[in-house]
């Protein structure tokens, strides 16, 4: 059996010496969709930022395809960073570049593809996310949903084996959101891309997630892990059932 795509082991994370996450360990299997979920303020985004190497953990390790991103430096670190793609909540497209230039940027910097090829690849990526014909638009000329999809196209530019998405569904209408789900599933099944997604959109979690990792603000760590439908129906933890069944906290 192949090594898992992403392994988080005994991760302690926090800011200013105060831990937001304690002893978080889980694995994201290759080619599967893993969703990190939990209520607001439970440290989902913090965990993601540690997994992609933006922040240094207090202790613990994150292995991307077997390589430790928390200790890697220099060229090794660059190699790890190139093996995955990330999209941010707000899209984070470069505002002064057109969509085509946004997608072409990593291709230009990291491959030797000739110009025509870069543009063809970029067009394929944009077509994959349903944005053909918008190549020459600036990000500010796009709707929120289109910006999200363009960000995914940019993250996929180098065909990474792993994609990290930070709340891809946030602020999208149900139809666009369902389209995005389908896109994620198709990329995962056909290209074998591993997805690690931070989300709390239940409908989409049930539609796409092979595995869910649930964080909790009080426990400051993982309180449940497994296929989402199974967690909803059989979890012993009332908080988990509550989350998946969308029930409000009962009055004390």
């Amino acid at each position: 059996m192949e090594a898992p795509a992403v392994v988080v082991s005994n991760l302690y994370a926090g800011y200013g010496g105060e831990a937001v996450l304690r002893d978080v360990s889980f694995e994201a299997a290759r080619g599967e969709v893993t969703v990190i979920l939990g209520g607001s303020g439970c440290g989902k985004s913090t965990l993601l930022k540690h997994m992609i190497g933006l922040h240094q953990p207090l202790s613990g390790h994150v292995f991307i395809e077997g390589r430790d991103i928390t200790t890697a430096r220099g060229r090794e670190r660059k190699r790890i960073l190139r093996s995955f793609g990330v999209t941010y909540q707000s899209g984070a497209l470069f505002g002064s570049l057109t969509l085509m230039e946004n997608v072409c940027l990593p291709l230009e910097e990291f491959t030797r593809l000739p110009l025509a090829a870069r543009e063809a690849v970029a067009r394929v990526k944009l077509a994959q996310v349903g944005l053909s014909g918008a190549e020459h638009k600036l990000p500010s000329e796009l709707s929120g949903g289109m910006q999200k999809r363009a960000a995914i196209a940019r993250a996929m530019a180098l065909d990474p084996a792993i994609l990290f998405l930070d709340e891809p569904q946030a602020g999208l209408d149900p139809v666009t959101s369902a389209g995005l789900d389908e896109l994620i599933l198709s990329l995962s099944r056909n290209l074998g891309i591993t997805f690690v997604i931070v989300s709390h959109e239940l409908a989409s979690i049930f539609a796409i997630a092979d595995q869910a990792v649930m964080l909790d603000a009080q426990a400051k760590g993982v309180i449940a892990q497994g296929p989402p439908a199974l967690l909803r129906d059989t979890s012993a933890n009332p908080k988990v059932r509550q989350f998946f069944n969308r029930t409000p906290t009962p009055e004390p």
């Binding site: 593809l113 090829a117 067009r123 990526k125 077509a127 994959q128 053909s132 065909d159 198709s186």
Partner: protein, 375 residues
């Protein structure tokens, strides 16, 4: 991971009526980069049939797909039939998702507008800009008058914070520039005046030019660089983050809430900065005179004789007016920002440029007015 064939290769052979391309290996960015030119050449004159055999392709990612789709597009462009055989099912599914239209370059990427259109657009932008400045002046005057009429509604804490960042924190650079300017001007003018034995008149020159002209002007330019730009960037970012919209929908006037405090605070501190600039300049001049052998008392006496209170007050009044112009235009540029990071940048640039231009124009107006008033 199993060891994969890492090299992508391509052979092409002529077949009756067309060409056959045989692809093999790993079609990723590295492989495709190697094959692209060759493949494009082979596909340029396909005849009536193009066959692509991909049975030995063991991996195909987005770059590979782009290559295959480009080949298909080329074939269709030249009116040839295209067949793709042997591609693994999982890649075939991806390939079939695309229609040729998806990957065709748009017919005309971004039409360049003609000269007339360009001139028209620029004029429209200019007129719109002027109209918005007029509107802003109106809004600002109304808000400022309201603040004067009802000082308790002014957010004094914000104003004091601005007074500190735009005023107190600017003191070191103001003093440094003032001192150096005084020093340099005194030194440069002392040399030619010495020929006529008129070195003592350096004091007259320095006192008048500093207090009436250079003090207010240089302070305003430093203010434009330090604070006008900061206001534009801050309000611009607030605009991009929809904070300005939030204020508006809360029923708070952004001009009263953000602009009046900033401009008011800057107007209050800039004359003080000008005073310090003047003082530092005179100290610089005195230092030069001391080094030339004149006693301090002679220098001070000469300055006192040549400069009078109206000179100082006129200068301070000018500096107050300059600070109004510089900071108001900074805020206006910030509030007009739309879009993302680059528009914040251009708002900042435009705030500094417009601020300096306004100051220069206003200085000219003041010079003429003061002259005709006989000051």
């Amino acid at each position: 991971m199993p060891v994969q064939n890492l090299s992508a290769t391509m052979t092409h052979a002529a077949i009756p009526g067309g060409v056959e391309l045989r692809l093999s290996g790993r079609l990723d960015a590295t492989g495709v980069a190697r094959l692209w030119t060759k493949a494009a050449q082979a596909a340029a004159g396909p005849g009536s049939v193009m066959r692509v055999d991909a049975s030995e392709v063991n991996f195909c990612d987005g770059s590979g797909l782009a290559l295959l789709l480009e080949l298909r597009r080329q074939a269709e462009l030249h009116g040839a039939s295209f067949t793709l055989t042997g591609l693994e099912r999982r890649f075939r599914i991806l390939f079939d998702q695309f229609s040729p239209a998806d990957v065709a370059p748009p017919p005309t990427p971004r039409q360049r507008p003609g000269l007339a259109e360009e001139v028209g657009r620029k004029t429209a932008v200019l007129l719109e800009d002027m109209a918005s400045i007029v509107a802003f002046v109106g809004e600002f005057c109304a808000a400022f008058a309201a603040a004067l009429a009802n000082p308790r509604r002014v957010r004094w804490r914000d104003a004091i914070h601005v007074a500190e960042t735009a005023g107190a924190n600017a003191l070191p650079i103001i003093v440094l520039i003032g001192f150096l300017m005084g020093l340099i001007m005194a030194f440069q003018s002392a040399m030619p005046l010495r020929r006529f034995g008129a070195e003592i008149f350096v004091a007259n020159l320095l006192g008048l030019s500093m207090l009436r002209e250079l003090g207010p002007l240089v302070t305003a330019i430093i203010l434009a660089g330090r604070s006008g730009s900061a206001f534009a960037a801050e309000l611009g970012t607030m605009n991009v983050n929809e904070e300005i919209s939030a204020l508006k929908t809360m029923g708070l006037d952004p001009v009263r809430f953000l602009v009046v405090t900033r401009v008011g605070a800057a107007m209050a501190v800039t004359p003080l900065l000008t005073l310090f600039f003047n003082l530092a300049g005179l100290i610089g001049g005195a230092l030069v005179m001391l080094s030339l052998g004149y006693p301090l008392a002679a220098f001070v006496n000469q300055v006192q004789m040549s400069v009078h209170l109206p000179d100082l007050m006129g200068g301070l009044f000018k500096s107050c007016a300059f600070s109004l112009l510089v900071c108001a235009i900074g805020c206006q540029r910030g509030l007009r920002t739309s879009g993302g990071a680059s528009s914040v940048g251009s708002a900042t640039t435009s705030a500094v440029v417009a601020g300096i231009i306004l100051v220069a124009v206003a200085d000219g107006v003041f010079a003429v007015t003061f002259y005709s008033l006989g000051w």
